[in-house]
Symmetry: C2
Subunit: 398 residues, 2 copies
């Protein structure tokens, strides 16, 4: 961001911002005007609420995710009592990591993964082990090898959770298949005895509703043993408005109390105004109507990025067509992409910014960090800027 | 809260909620309608911003606090660059404590102090030492004795900061005089060499704008050496609307970077919508006009509480007339007030809830925790409920 701000004219294909044109301005204004039109509905929105979150929002969140997962209406895994509302799902990532991990503990992460989560781990002194990623999610054989290795080293008791960004992953765009989620959870369960405690599956579904092609995949909450082991996080910020930071988590019973207490220490509860806004959006058709407008816009921008890559970048580049989210991950065999690389410098000179792939790998000393990858975002840039940005990147590459 | 929810008809003089009747419903609706009336102003409010906060809000915050402190316009202590915006000032309390304290470290707190801050300390494994409080703030002789004792025990290097709720303190209502702030900061500076590092003064001014009698006191930012040592926190939530959680901190240069990075891990920035709302309130007259309506209402409720205490409670009760904030702290010599006391139980049976004073003392093994005090709030209860609540408390006492 500092780089972007200091160079006007720079096209950023780096930022994880959503598309300004999709922001629900009219809908938000209408919802807030109605909410604030009578003191009776307005006062609770302008007053403190409970730390766990607005009951109506927890209820609607539970119903919504249960609906997406096509679970029966009495399924206890989708009870509103299990839902904790956060200031974005980011806060829930933080809370869960804070309550589960001590310094020196180990978290399993995808290779590559969401770099802000790596920063959370680092700030808590938590180590990580990277698990290889395939086109349909985690490499389960690699997961098993890493768990076995940790067991042999006597480090399994330090392992607390596997962090899985299961939908249109940031940074790769990869979606984890249900079979792979099931395989991962089964492996975690198999190693629990040796670990001496539960090994949690932390499923981050932040991009689930940013789908523009293909089918939705059921969440890890649908798996056997999920109630005690799966922490499922989602957000309304990304699909609705990133300036309205409201996320949610479904937490195992053992974690809900501690996470709520730490949330109380953080802020004693997410802004009531934001929660009431979202609850009203969900209660009316505003949220789903808005959601329905997203796929066309993002699909178009993704196609534009794909077209520009084919036109301007060398044929040796490796990448995967996105079905949702905001990112394309690309590999440029033999070309360094890091912050100190010639490519990064020349790209800046040409006026385009990308995220170096190496930033998305955890500090796992057991494998080298690739330095020939990059993340390109089609979230915020306009179609014209996407085309021009990739043209500039091609120029820098040449 | 659990108790209050489970007993309808209960009058809570415990909750720290503000007065519903003072919530700025019309103002908020007008501000948001204008903000969201054009895409140009609306889009930034619905999009991510920077982690440190909206530049305009940081600027207006800096100007506002500089104005309250009557400091010159070029005073570097009030530079907007020093301001970090949080999801309530509560989040800033958390961030500052998180970046400064390791498990086993020591924080100096007032006896009594804000109980949620004690919970933050506890959750980070931080110890505390209590400093006696007088009618005009910290007992400086006691502060000196505690610092000397810590030096003699070789524990001074573990001391990180003094937490001072300097305006209409929660729970006692006490305001610290400027002379006492200066004395406290001078003492901290004197012990810095023995500590081996800076000893920060964490000034929490959450209730500063909740004044209804007497004069404002300049903040600790006005003191010599403040730029490097004073962390000054304030909030817009309490005076404006507690459902709009926006607080701010002025941080020493050494702490600003680390706190901003951890804030990035928490939530990468407070909701833009809330920040734009507050920036507009400050830019228009809405904020100060609203502020001007508060004193009359709170002064009236405080007077009602005082009258009810005189009418219904025994003359042995000791308390101090409030000049701001939302609390009266009372001592009932010889009567236990704790959660397991006969009084607490009978008060519940009579239908009134208070905060036992013992909850507001840190776990400092060097002094006993008094068990004959209680906190009464006139923030949220109606004038009639305040009168009736105290009548019930008197009944319980008899």
């Amino acid at each position: 961001m500092e780089i972007a701000l200091s160079r006007p004219g720079l096209i950023s294909l780096a930022a994880g911002f959503t598309d300004n044109a999709t922001l629900p301005v009219v809908e938000t204004r209408a919802l807030l005007t109605r909410l604030l039109s009578a003191r009776r509905s307005a006062e609770p929105a302008l007053q403190y609420g409970s730390t766990a979150g607005l009951p109506e929002l927890r209820q609607r969140t539970a119903e919504r995710i249960r609906g997406l997962d096509a679970a029966p209406s009495n399924d206890p895994r989708y009870s509103p009592d299990r839902v904790l509302i956060g200031h974005g799902s980011q806060q829930l990532l933080y809370l869960v990591t804070e309550i589960l991990c001590n310094p020196g503990d180990i978290v399993l992460v995808e290779d590559p993964t969401y770099f802000v989560y790596l920063s959370i781990l680092q700030s808590h002194g938590v180590r990580c082990r990277g698990i290889k990623l395939e086109h349909d999610g985690l490499d389960l054989a690699n997961l098993q090898r890493v768990l076995t290795d940790l067991e042999q080293r006597g480090e399994l008791p330090r392992v607390k959770l596997l962090y899985l960004l299961s939908y249109y992953q940031n940074p790769t765009g990869v979606t984890t298949s249900l079979a792979k989620k099931a395989g991962a959870l089964a492996l975690l369960r198999r190693f629990e005895r040796a670990a001496g405690h539960r090994l949690y599956l932390l499923e981050d579904a932040a991009y689930r509703e940013m789908r523009f092609a293909g089918d939705d995949v059921p969440s890890a909450l649908t798996l056997p043993g999920a109630r005690e082991r799966v922490i499922h996080l989602g957000t309304y910020s990304k699909p609705f408005a990133t300036g309205v930071r409201v996320g949610f988590g479904f937490l195992p019973p053992t974690l809900l109390g501690p996470a709520t207490r730490v949330k109380g220490n953080h802020d004693f509860g997410t802004s009531s105004l934001l929660q009431h806004l979202l609850a009203r959006a969900l209660a009316s058709s505003e949220y789903s109507d808005h959601l329905a407008t997203l796929p066309r816009r993002y699909a178009r921008k993704a196609r534009g990025l794909v077209r520009a890559i084919r036109r301007h970048l060398p044929p040796s580049i490796e990448w995967q067509e996105p079905l949702g989210g905001m990112y394309i991950w690309a590999r440029l065999p033999g070309i360094r992409t890091g912050l100190k690389s010639a490519l990064f410098k020349r790209a800046l000179e040409a006026g385009v910014l990308y995220v170096p792939g190496s930033l998305c790998y955890g500090a796992d000393p057991n494998r080298p960090i690739p330095d020939d990858e990059l993340r390109l975002s089609f979230g915020n840039a306009s179609p014209a800027d996407i085309e021009e940005g990739i043209r500039r990147l091609g120029e820098a590459l040449r």
